[in-house]
């Protein structure tokens, strides 16, 4: 069974899959890693992005990636609104940890049920010219429905890294969980910084969702599978380091692709959770985090 062709194709598929995982995990890396907001509803927002792409693609035939990008600002405001609710209900009263967690759990549930009510539990697809095309380079097969999301996800990662490292607001977001007071002395309002950060995080879900529905058909509860996967990526990536998150995503993508190729796809979902449990038990600061 084991051949060289199979091996390099498994690696290539893993790299592309991992690139896409980065798009899903980045939003959580910002909220969980930098803001200490445990948004377990993040994958559900990604699925929401998928359904937005589905509805518009079906009615107007617009390219799903473009839809994802166009809807980023709308999701950005959604995220800002979400932070406002979270802040007023939990952070202000200092109960964010446990109640906040249960709040996002409930929110995830509500969003999922609303999507089931609106779209049913059928798998939905988008259509675009490149879905179904494959790029052949020697023995390497690169399906465009994997390659295009991977490239788009990588570009989005680079954009977020640049924003976080070059702009004042980006640096403020990186700083907000470390030293609130120092941030205030620098003339930045922590509440506003966090609001913008959660806005950006949810905005990435719009694009990630559009990419997801290019890769595979989507139904409302698909998001649950991503919870363990992206938490594994974020923790493995060292909590809040965007580039660490990207490399951890690639790693998980490659491992999953290997398991799927050599053991069967039904075991792949356990990879993320298994790695997450191991990481939490052995090295909670992640592969790329400081001890």
């Amino acid at each position: 069974m084991f051949t060289f062709d199979l091996l390099i194709n498994a690696v290539a598929a893993g790299l592309m899959l991992g690139g896409f995982y980065a798009a899903v995990a980045i939003g959580l890396s910002i909220t969980f890693g930098q803001l200490d907001i445990v948004n377990i509803a993040h994958p559900t927002f990604v699925i929401l992005g998928s359904f937005v792409a589905f509805v518009i693609n079906e009615s107007f035939g617009i390219d799903p990636v473009l839809i994802g990008v166009v809807f980023m600002p709308i999701f950005y405001f959604l995220g800002m609104g979400l932070y406002q609710i979270y802040y007023v209900s939990f952070e202000k009263t200092g109960q964010e940890s446990l109640s906040g967690l249960a709040f996002f759990f409930g929110l995830m549930f509500i969003l999922e049920v609303l999507m089931i009510l609106a779209f049913g539990v059928d798998y939905r697809l988008v259509s675009a010219a490149y879905i179904g095309e494959t790029l052949h380079i020697g023995p390497l097969d690169l399906p465009l429905r994997m390659l295009i999301p991977a490239v788009a996800a990588t570009l989005m990662t680079i954009a977020v890294v640049l924003y976080m490292s070059k702009t004042f607001m980006g640096k403020a977001i990186m700083a907000v969980s470390q030293d609130r007071l120092a941030l205030q002395l620098m003339g930045a309002d922590p509440i506003r910084v966090k609001r913008i950060a959660l806005g950006i995080a949810i905005a990435t879900a719009a694009l990630a969702g559009a990419l997801l529905i290019i890769i595979q058909p989507v139904e409302p509860s698909v998001g649950r599978l991503y919870i363990g996967r992206i938490f594994a990526i974020v923790v493995l990536g060292g909590m809040g380091s965007i580039s660490g998150t990207f490399f951890a995503a690639i790693l998980i993508g490659v491992v999953e692709s290997f398991i799927a190729t050599f053991y069967g796809p039904s075991w792949a979902p356990a990879v993320g959770f298994g790695i997450l449990l191991l990481t939490l038990a052995i090295r909670p600061q992640g592969l790329f985090g400081r001890a």
Partner: protein, 315 residues
């Protein structure tokens, strides 16, 4: 032991339940109360860890499914009688709970919650690939023909769940009102401080996670005989995990009777909504109620009641 009001009430409930099986003939009542009571056991079990110590378990469905599939496997392999199956399910669930307890050594707060979620999904993947118990396709389970002293099997299952509920509430009440409960509350408020004061935090947490594991797993064990068809989707249903959290949160997590109140109210509302409107709407109700209570009344119904009484006394 002195026979106080609580024990009299427990015995009265059991006798009433038994009289009920002898007088009601509509099986629908037993199906409905079984579902509500199953939710109650899960909620009370969740609260023993979540409410008393503050460690959130998102993997309640995983513990439940361990009981379900222990039952399926034992029934298929040896055709063991139900009491033996319950005992084995309890032991396996307890061991899993014990494992979760050791996990708390390394993982605090949020990380523990995510780890429980991850554990549940790893178990689900294993079950999906375990062909013997039906894998992803599911399997049929036959109800035993004889039903002891009851007219039919559903009455027996109902009575069993009623006994389990009373037992779960009694355990939860014992844990919260004894020295153990004071220790657990100390862990919830400040684990490091509790440890420094000489509270045996690890031992208490292990007691609490094991009790939770045993109860959740036993709650799941009769499930295959109740539904007669089991697949991972029904055994690991998100609703089970959400209800286990929502019921205590709505009732009030700080007291042993909080989850009981929450489970009865939410259970009745859900069953009514499922019958009269639709099962999706039933899911929506849970989610919305959970979020509303967490944001507006974090102490639950019991907390609201206490506040109201305090205000009234102050006047």
């Amino acid at each position: 032991m002195k026979l106080d009001k609580f024990w009299i009430a427990c015995i009265a409930i059991l006798i009433l339940g038994f009289v009920f099986t002898k007088n009601a003939d509509n099986e629908f009542y037993f199906f409905t109360t079984y579902v509500i009571l199953q939710g109650l056991v899960m909620a009370v079990a969740w609260n023993i860890l979540g409410g008393f110590t503050g460690y959130v378990n998102f993997g309640a469905a995983g513990f439940f499914a361990v009981g379900v599939y222990t039952s399926v496997a034992l029934n298929k392999a040896f055709g063991l009688p139900l009491p033996v199956i319950l005992a084995v399910a309890g032991i396996i669930g307890g061991l899993l709970g014990l494992g979760a307890g050791y996990l708390t050594l390394r993982l605090k707060g949020v990380y523990f919650a995510i780890a429980t979620l991850a554990t549940a999904l790893v178990i689900e993947t294993i079950v999906n690939n375990w062909k013997y118990v039906g894998g992803a396709a599911g399997t049929y389970v036959l109800q035993p023909k004889q039903s002891f002293i009851f007219d039919n099997y559903i009455e027996l299952l109902f009575m069993l769940m009623l006994v389990l509920s009373v037992a779960a509430v009694a355990i939860s009440r014992y844990l919260s009102s004894s020295r153990v409960g004071k220790g657990l509350a100390a862990i919830r408020d400040d684990e490091v401080a509790a440890e420094c004061m000489g509270v045996p935090t690890l031992r208490l947490k292990l007691i609490s996670t094991t009790a939770m594991g045993v109860l959740m797993s036993i709650a799941g064990a009769p499930f295959p005989f109740f539904v007669t068809f089991v697949d991972p989707v029904s055994a690991f249903a998100l609703l089970i995990a959400v209800n286990a959290i929502a019921m205590p949160m709505i009732g009030g997590t700080a007291y042993w009777y909080g989850p009981v109140i929450g489970a009865l109210i939410l259970g009745v509302v859900q069953e009514t909504a499922t019958v009269t409107i639709s099962s999706e709407l039933n899911l929506l109700i849970v989610g919305v109620l959970l979020v509303l209570f967490i944001t507006m009344a974090p102490q639950g119904i019991v907390g609201v009641y206490h506040d109201w009484r305090k205000k009234r006394d102050a006047k």
